[in-house]
């Protein structure tokens, strides 16, 4: 029963991941992006859970709970809290939405081409879905270089991190619990530090446009 719907579940989860990433490029509002990030975290957790059930490993299911807590709940909550606290400024990205979505399409194609070379011969379901992870990495990078606000940059970084996690889970069946715990804590720490940093920026310059950061000061 489960084996028959397994490929479809994998497809559903990875599709949700790609869709949320693309929507994040399209939407400019910071709050909308945070909600999308939360959905993406849940999708990632679901993906991990599906893989765990398929392989029958309790440890991977535990990891999926951890992913749900950190990426689906904790990180979006931290981000949203900070954003609510301040006056909302919408993003004015360096690329207009049409061009951005076109770039997303090109990047996705590129990642499929690359993956077909790298994973040639591997016919498993998860290997088929791996290019989505690569595409998410590239989309996260795209967000990093096109967004001006520190908060949006952070979201780009988190999408990139989700992409790496997706590739890891799909190609090697996940990482050990301890490693995942370490990585999650790392990401959480980075987000907290960056948010403190963004707060400092706001008190210093009145906004968080990172174009202001051009010179080194003592």
């Amino acid at each position: 029963m489960f084996t028959t719907i397994y490929p479809q579940l994998i497809g559903l989860c990875t599709g949700a991941l790609l869709l949320t990433s693309a929507l994040m490029v399209w939407r400019h509002s910071l709050l909308a992006s945070i909600r999308l990030l939360s959905v993406q975290g849940v999708a990632l957790a679901a993906l991990v859970a599906v893989i765990g059930v398929e392989e029958g490993e309790v440890e991977v299911i535990l990891v999926s709970v951890l992913v749900l807590l950190v990426k689906g709940v904790a990180l979006p909550w931290v981000l949203a809290r900070e954003t609510h606290a301040t006056t909302r400024t919408d993003e004015a990205p360096r690329l207009n939405p049409t061009a951005a979505l076109l770039t997303v399409a090109l990047l996705t194609i590129l990642s499929y081409v690359v993956a077909s070379r790298l994973l040639a011969g591997d016919t498993s379901v998860s290997a088929h879905a791996a290019p989505i992870g690569l595409a998410m990495v590239l989309i996260g990078f795209l967000l990093l270089i096109t967004r001006r606000q520190a908060g949006s940059q952070l979201i780009g970084f988190l999408v990139l991190d989700n992409g790496i996690a997706t590739v890891a889970f799909l190609t090697s069946g996940g990482v050990p619990l301890f490693l995942e715990l370490g990585i999650s804590l790392d990401v959480l720490l980075v987000v907290v530090i960056l948010y403190v940093f963004a707060g400092r920026m706001r008190t210093k310059f009145g906004n968080t446009e990172i174009d202001q950061l051009r010179k080194l000061h003592d």
């Binding site: 590129l110 690359v114 174009d211």
Partner: protein, 672 residues
């Protein structure tokens, strides 16, 4: 555990102690406590070196966290000799520092980096493979850089001097690294004993030779890598300058010895010619610049370039003569080079310590504003005078013995049993003799100027007039240094024998002790016994001197006014020679090389063309190598730097785009 191992371990422990002392002691006691521990650290180096030189064995293995072999420290005899020299200078410098270090040079950073610097320097000769050699070399360099950096806050010029120093020391590190990498690639390992198996006639060995020569030459302050010296040493306080110029340069020489004595002892003849040329040019250029310098520390700094040039001249002669099978003369040249290194360490550290004492007493390093310090600072003047005699290579000092031996080797070198050994040798040797003769003459002039203008005559400025002798703790190292200069000159025999034992087994110089600690270099039929000479001269001169003193007592001296003073003594300090005017004839003779720039400013009285109110003359001698070689290169680099700044404009987005484009290109290349 053998004595040698205990010595090495003791140095390691004393380093820890010195670091703790520098960090923990309060400001009031810091110089005394840290200086004492640093002196002990250096003394431990002397003892360890002596054990190694006398044939002690043993090794200290330090495991590392790096994926490399553990560091093995085990000095051989040659390493022991160099360790003694650098540690002895380090001990004098640290002892002097107890009294002289004030404000910035007594800070935590300064004493901490002093300890690290001394430690690195002492243990470089103990390294047995390339990795530990380079590691200790870098510890030494970083220690000295931080030591200079401690003075950054007080003087603005330190920063630019430090940039030069860092750039040049990294450049020479790069050359050494590349040279060793070349040899290690050929030998298949990094141990020094493995590198000795490389064939010196392969082209890779020649490339490695060139790189290593440049790298070690840079540390030994040879032209054209000397440009940092006249900038850095004047900024350093006396004891730091003494440790750098008296000890650190010897590490450069040690590196060269490692290559030409231990690893590639039988290189082709053109190596020797090249080393001789580099040494000869450095010697001449260094002493020329020194002779016209009016800043005492700049003068001493350039004199280091000269002496190291002579050392490399001796080394080069040794390599060339060995290639031509004139082994006896080659060995004698090597011993002479090492003798010169030893004597230079003694007199240059004393001179720099003396300069430090003068700087403390008069607060002035410009010779044109000094004078009359001899009667005000008799101890400093005596020690500086003895060391200046050594630097001018006058008899009964160590400098004389070394240069005499070098000249003997060069003169006897080009012929074996009356036959000319090779065309290269018969051209190079007379040229080298001429270079040494000219250098010796100019050195005499330079140090007559340095001593005469600074210590004799009348003070040329109020600061010099108010100078007082330095405290006892600073006089002790000065006196020890001066005694070493004379002592090494009186005992050339045991010294040469020790050096002869140290360079073996590849080189076996035939030197013996003769008479009262005299030296007998049998290979080249040269004998020198200064102690006997001094004793005999004393016996002969004693009756004459006694007669002179007795007659002088009977006839009291009459003080008559000077004939040219117009009947009265209206001599003013400004009527004396200054350092600039003393060197003026030299500047004229070597005008084309030195290219001085003169600035004469005449202020007339009112409208008159003939009455002059004031004349201001200023002469500056710039370093030709710097203006002609480094400036164009630096300007070119700066142009590229401006271009690079456009790509590196500080925007985070731009940097992220660079990595994104790089990632994409990698992916595209993979998928093609």
């Amino acid at each position: 555990m053998t004595a040698l191992e205990a010595g090495l371990l003791g140095q390691l422990l004393l380093l820890v102690l010195a670091v703790a002392a520098a960090l923990l002691t309060p400001t009031r006691w810091r110089s005394r406590v840290s200086g004492t521990v640093c002196t002990l650290l250096a003394t431990a180096g002397v003892v360890t070196g002596a054990i190694a030189l006398s044939g002690g064995t043993g090794s200290l293995t330090i495991p590392t966290a790096l994926p490399l072999d553990p560091l093995v420290l085990s000095p051989d005899k040659l390493g022991g000799l160099v360790m003694i020299v650098v540690s002895a200078v380090g001990a004098l410098a640290a002892l002097f520092g107890i009294g002289s270090a004030r404000v910035a040079s007594a800070s935590r950073t300064a004493w901490l980096s002093m300890a690290v610097f001394l430690f690195g320097m002492q243990l470089v000769p103990a390294a047995t493979d390339v990795v530990s050699f380079l590691l200790l070399w870098e510890i030494m360099t970083l220690g000295s850089t931080a030591l200079l950096l401690a003075h950054h806050a007080t003087r603005g010029t330190v920063a630019s001097a430090l940039v030069w120093y860092s750039a040049m020391s990294q450049l020479s590190f790069f050359f050494v690294l590349a040279g060793f990498a070349m040899l290690a690639g050929l030998a298949g390992g990094t141990g020094f004993d493995l590198l000795a198996t490389v064939d010196p006639f392969s082209w890779q060995a020649s490339v490695a030779f060139l790189l290593l020569l440049l790298g070690f030459g840079g540390k030994a302050e040879l032209v054209p890598l000397h440009v940092w010296v006249p900038r850095v040493l004047p900024e350093a306080p006396g004891h730091v300058a003494a440790a750098m110029s008296g000890a650190m340069v010897n590490i450069g020489v040690y590196g060269a010895l490692l290559v030409f004595v231990r690893m590639l002892p039988n290189g082709p003849a053109w190596w020797g010619v090249l080393i001789m040329a580099l040494g000869g040019v450095s010697a001449l250029y260094g002493i020329l610049q020194a002779s016209v310098a009016s800043n005492l520390k700049v003068l001493l700094a350039y004199s280091t370039t000269e002496n190291m040039g002579l050392v490399f001249l001796g080394l080069g002669a040794s390599v060339l003569l060995r290639a031509d099978n004139a082994t006896a003369a080659a060995d004698a040249a090597l011993v002479a080079a090492l003798l010169l290194m030893l004597s230079h360490a003694a007199f240059k550290s004393t001179l720099f310590l003396g300069a430090g004492a003068v700087a403390r007493a008069a607060g002035e390093m410009n010779l044109d504003r000094l004078g009359g310090l001899g009667s005000r600072m008799p101890w400093t003047a005596g020690a500086f005078g003895a060391a200046a005699m050594g630097a001018a290579a006058l008899p009964v000092t160590s400098g004389f013995v070394a240069e005499w031996m070098l000249l003997q080797a060069l003169i006897h070198g080009s012929r074996v049993d009356g036959e000319v050994v090779s065309v290269a040798a018969s051209v190079a040797m007379p040229l080298a003799v001429a270079v040494i003769a000219l250098t010796a003459g100019l050195a005499l002039l330079t140090f007559v100027k340095a001593y005469g203008i600074a210590f004799l005559a009348r003070p040329r400025s109020p600061q010099a007039e108010q100078a007082r002798e330095v405290p006892v703790i600073m006089r002790i190292p000065l006196v020890i240094g001066a005694l070493l200069v004379v002592g090494l000159g009186l005992l050339p025999g045991p010294l040469a024998v020790a050096i002869g034992g140290a360079v073996g087994p590849e080189f076996t110089p035939d030197v013996r002790i003769i008479g009262l600690a005299g030296v007998d270099a049998r290979g080249i039929d040269a004998v020198l016994d200064p102690t006997t000479f001094v004793v005999l001269a004393g016996l002969l001169l004693a009756p004459v001197l006694i007669a002179v003193f007795v007659s002088a007592r009977r006839h009291p001296t009459r003080i008559s006014p000077l004939p040219w003073a117009g009947g009265g003594s209206r001599l003013r300090p400004r009527m004396q020679y200054t350092a600039t005017s003393y060197a003026e004839p030299l500047v004229r003779v070597f005008d084309d090389v030195l290219r001085p720039s003169r600035d004469v400013e005449v202020t007339h009285v009112g409208e008159s063309r003939y009455l002059v109110e004031r004349v201001h003359v200023e002469q500056t001698v710039s370093d030709v190598v710097e203006t002609r070689l480094y400036r164009p290169v630096l300007n070119l680099l700066q142009r590229f730097g401006i271009l690079a700044r456009r790509a590196q404009n500080g925007s985070i987005h731009r940097y992220l785009s660079y990595s994104f484009v790089a990632l994409l290109s990698v992916l595209i290349v993979v998928s093609l």
